[in-house]
Amino acid sequence: MAVPIANSIRRLRFEHGEMTQGELAEKIGMTRQTVAAIEAGKYSPSLEAAFRIAAVFGVGLEEVFQWQG
């Protein structure tokens, strides 16, 4: 079941030198499969992981994740 949180990870990855899911996963200490699940909206990351993702792209949390509820 998809979670009510949209994200812009795919766009942000491509805006940051076409970063691969594997590269992002390595930077935040997760597996590529977990990054794929987050990006597809199948898994909601913890607050810590969300901040790590935002920090990799150098943007605020709300630019990465948007509440759709």
């Binding site: 899911q21 200490g29 597996t31 590529r32 499969q33 977990t34 794929a36 199948k42 990351p45 992981a49």
Partner: protein, 141 residues
């Protein structure tokens, strides 16, 4: 594009396949023995199947670890969540199956049968954990 399997998803598949193959042979032989009255000693068969299970799971896990980059990394938060949920399911299933052991006891089955039923409970619960993990890995969570 479908992401390739993570090491822990491969490990779940390996655990499931190893258990089904090795303990399938064991319980199948026990069932045939009960029907035909012939077959190998249960103790020898158990030792053989347990050794085959350890060897199969160990060997396949070793191969999967060598073929998967980052296999030695600790589980991330999603993998820990999947492990926790699947083991919770396995715990409740095992609890129900252990309580259900009262049925063969009630009908006066001998001790070796009860031991085999108990082993079957553990194998079924272990398979349920692996299946739950595989389903959650495939679904994303």
């Amino acid at each position: 594009m479908e992401a390739p399997m993570s090491f822990r998803e491969k490990a779940a598949w390996i655990g499931l396949v190893s258990a089904v193959v090795c303990f399938g042979v064991y319980f199948g032989s026990i069932a045939l023995h009960r029907i035909s009255g012939r077959g190998p000693s249960a103790m020898h068969l158990m030792a053989l199947c347990a050794a085959a299970y350890v060897a199969l799971q160990g060997g396949l896990t070793f191969l999967a670890a060598r073929a998967t980059p980052g296999a030695g990394a600790p589980p991330d938060e999603r993998e820990r969540l999947i492990q926790a949920r699947s083991h919770t399911l396995g715990y409740y299933l095992l609890t129900v199956l252990v309580v259900a052991l009262g049925a063969p006891l009630h009908f006066g089955h001998p001790a070796p049968d009860i031991l085999n039923f108990a082993m079957l409970d553990v194998v079924v619960a272990g398979c349920a954990v692996s299946i739950a993990q595989i389903v959650m890995y495939r679904r994303g969570i």
